[in-house]
């Protein structure tokens, strides 16, 4: 695994991967929360049950499932980052590997947590009518 040589292009894109693994879940969750809350409260407040012709409950599902998938992707990336960098850090003592490995581990935990929050909150769409106070 660690024998793969990188290129200049790879080193430009690499950090983007690492950081997606660290903060991807956090960003997805933020978008989910603001979108789901604002759409639900504002639509119901206006006395409607559709958004631009689409039933509100369908919009709620989208606002739950898409961020959940993004978070799952970030989870996968952070797992990859953590494994590769920890392995690399064992082979060569460079603090860059140690640092990225730790960030991967932090991302792993954070993404798992955000995924649970999205799923736990999203499960309510199964149970609760969209506008019941």
């Amino acid at each position: 695994m660690t024998t793969i040589r990188s290129t200049a292009r790879g080193r430009r894109l690499g950090p983007a991967f690492s950081w997606f693994g660290v903060v991807g879940g956090a960003v997805a969750w933020s978008v989910h929360l603001i979108a789901a809350w604002a759409v639900d409260e504002l639509t119901c407040g206006a006395g409607r049950a559709t958004v631009a012709g689409v039933p509100l409950v369908a919009v709620m599902w989208v606002a739950v499932i898409v961020p959940a998938l993004v978070t799952a992707a970030a989870l996968a990336v952070s797992a990859l980052v953590w494994r590769r960098e920890s392995a690399a850090a064992r082979q060569r003592a460079d603090r860059g590997y140690g640092r990225t490995g730790m960030l991967g581990l932090v991302g792993l935990g954070a993404n798992a947590l955000f995924l649970s929050i999205i799923v736990a909150g999203g499960a309510a769409v199964l149970v609760l009518p969209v506008c019941q106070p």
Partner: protein
């Protein structure tokens, strides 16, 4: 950049030269002009401590009034002003500035830096905080203190229900204070990402620094909501706009949203640095690093983020759709996981360490016990049905005092004892400290535990008196007795600090055997902190022989210079020169004070004069230095 070669001069000579360059005259001008982060940090601590005392006296008066049914110590209006000022001052003028004081004094030392990234901005932040605090407390002595509760809900606080200047003091005072908090937050972030000693990659940064940085990011995103809310309320009250007035299309719930978008993160803005203090204290008294370092970092970061997604839980009782509340409920319940991770990490640290029981550790243990109890009642609020039942009762008062006093004041006092050698060079008395801990811990629980019960028995918060015969009398009396015990304990803390400074024994170098870099400097540190820039090889540099021996032998970094390092891995980047003492920060803060007073008194020419003065001072402050001849020719 001077390039005095250290091989040419012996180390002792180089250090003596450094002493000369960094020495501050003991003059009035130097007192007002200093930009030394340690002096500014001490000022934050002393000023915030004084505000704590004033707000504490407010609380004692409240408890005296409530000691028995039908009390007549205070009038209803006095009561309103006192409980509002107690809450507002404790949150805004004590907790955050106190923790920023620790940050100021310690973050550059822990990073192995010579000062904050923007030393003058740091001084400016202190002066603004001082002036904002003086405005708000002087209103109390003039009888026009804010009186709408610390969260100042409209429509009560809007016209025509609150006339007078009281709420203008609140809105303007908090916006003014916000300038200081924002400046401090930016300074902490930049210092922590640019001035870490070479080798201190992100995975080697002290947990206290992680906590301060996470807090600072929260300030950047949360404070604008409070500032906007206060600005809109000020416009409503002073200039007749309609943001919060439904009959002209405004909305009263808007205030609650804006306030709690700020307010809930603010709980963690207060608690996170205090948790950082705990993580900093434990290694010295358990003789090992905090267990599961990456998990504690994870917890710090996720708490900071998730806390922005729970604000609606303060409004479960306002009739919003249940589904939208459930998204917030999920976050409110699951945020306990990272908090739990931290608690388990501390417990594991103590379990696997060799415990040395000293006063700072006692306060940490007191913190863990109290904070966990507050956390348990906190989880109960996450359940909407229970929240409906006890909203606005004394149960809530009990809960947030467990979280805020337990979560912030215990670590703050523990930190004070722990870092007193760094701050003053003196040791506090162990005996007095243990008495103080006993009285604070016992007094605290005696004051606040009964409030759970009076709350469950239906006692609403913020009532200035109550009739007898509702079953509330014994619990209130116990609370009042407890508050006096607590006050005595806190006085003992102050006494032990004063005694230590006045006639305490000089602290030995590194008296506790701490693991972070502030203990690798002299105790107390010199104005330049470190003669040569520390090299970091691991998570516990002050326990690392390589770091310590190189501090003795490495080349001295001459002059007012600091080393910038790269953001992630702290690789050396370049030397920069640090600004020296200046009166401009004080002048800028004074000019802003004039703006605020002009707005408060509705003397608008004065406010405009203040704006002009601010611009003049800042333009001079930031004017670029003349290019040297060589630089001009190179261009």
């Amino acid at each position: 950049m001077t390039t005095t070669s250290a091989q040419a001069v012996p180390r002792a000579v180089a250090v003596a030269r450094l002493e000369e360059q960094w020495r501050e005259q003991r003059s009035l001008r130097s007192w007002f002009a200093t930009v030394d982060h340690k002096r500014i940090g001490r000022r934050y601590l002393v000023t915030a401590g004084a505000f704590f005392g004033l707000a504490g006296i407010d609380a004692l008066l409240l408890r005296t009034q409530l000691a028995r049914a039908g009390g007549d110590v205070l009038s209803p209006d006095q009561y309103n002003q006192l409980f509002t000022m107690h809450g507002t001052a404790m949150i805004f003028l004590f907790a955050t500035p106190m923790l920023f004081g620790f940050g100021n004094a310690l973050v550059p030392l822990m990073l192995g830096a010579r000062d904050m990234a923007f030393p003058r901005l740091n001084a400016f932040g202190y002066w603004v905080f001082l002036f904002a605090g003086l405005i708000m407390f002087s209103s109390q002595f003039l009888g026009v203190a804010p009186n709408g509760g610390w969260f100042a809900y409209v429509p009560l606080t809007d016209l025509p229900y609150s006339l007078g200047r009281n709420l203008d003091v609140y809105t303007l005072g908090l916006i003014f204070l916000g300038v200081s908090t924002t400046a401090g937050a930016i300074n902490f972030i930049v210092t922590s990402i640019k001035l870490r000693a070479p080798g201190m990659s992100l995975n080697r940064a002290p947990l206290f620094v992680w906590a301060i940085v996470a807090t600072s990011f929260m300030v950047l995103f949360a404070l604008p909501a409070l500032n906007a809310a206060n600005a809109l309320l000020f416009l409503d009250r002073r200039f007749g706009t309609h943001f919060f007035q439904p009959d002209a299309g405004g909305n009263t719930l808007l205030w609650q949203h804006l306030f709690w978008i700020f307010g809930h993160p603010d709980v963690y803005i207060i608690v996170l640095p205090a948790l950082g203090i705990v993580s900093a204290i434990l290694p010295a008294f358990c003789r090992r690093g905090v267990a599961a370092y990456p998990l504690v970092v994870l917890a710090t970061i996720t708490i900071a983020i998730i806390s922005f997604g729970v604000w609606v839980h303060h409004m479960f009782a306002t009739g919003l759709p249940s589904l939208s509340l459930s998204f917030f409920s999920a976050a409110s319940v699951l945020i306990t996981i990272p908090s739990g991770i931290q608690v388990f990490a501390w417990v594991a640290t103590m379990l696997f360490g060799r415990i040395v029981v000293r006063v700072p550790l006692l306060f940490v243990v007191g913190f863990i016990v109290t904070f966990v109890m507050g956390g348990v009642t906190g989880v109960m609020f996450g359940i909407t049905a229970f929240d409906m039942q006890i909203t606005d009762s004394y149960f809530v008062v009990a809960h947030f005092h467990y979280v805020l006093f337990g979560g912030a004041v215990f670590p703050i006092i523990g930190g004070l004892y722990y870092w007193l050698p760094v701050l003053t060079g003196k040791m506090a008395s162990e005996v007095l400290g243990r008495w103080a801990f006993g009285l604070v811990f016992g007094g605290f629980h005696l004051t606040f535990f009964p409030m759970h019960l009076s709350g469950l028995l239906g006692m609403p918060r913020r009532v200035y008196t109550y009739p007898t015969g509702l079953g509330w009398d014994p619990w209130n009396l116990l609370s009042t007795i407890g508050s006096y015990v607590l006050a005595v304990g806190l006085l003992l803390v102050v006494l032990s600090v004063v005694l230590a400074v006045a006639r305490g024994p000089r602290a030995a170098v590194d008296p506790w055997g701490g693991d972070t870099l502030e203990w690798a400097a002299t105790t107390p540190p010199r104005p330049y902190n470190f003669a040569s820039i520390p090299q970091v090889f691991g998570l516990h540099p002050a326990w690392d022989r390589r770091t310590l021996s190189r501090l003795e032998t490495d080349e001295v970094l001459p002059g007012h210079q600091a080393l910038l390092t790269s953001e992630l891995d702290a690789r050396p980047q370049r030397l920069v020169s640090m600004p020296e003492a200046s009166l401009r920060p004080l002048l800028a803060a004074l000019a802003l004070l004039v703006v605020v007073l002009g707005l408060l008194w509705a003397v608008y020419w004065l406010a405009i004069a203040g704006v002009v003065a601010t611009i003049v001072v800042v333009v001079g402050w930031l004017w670029p230095p003349q290019l040297t001849r060589a630089e001009a020719e190179a261009a």
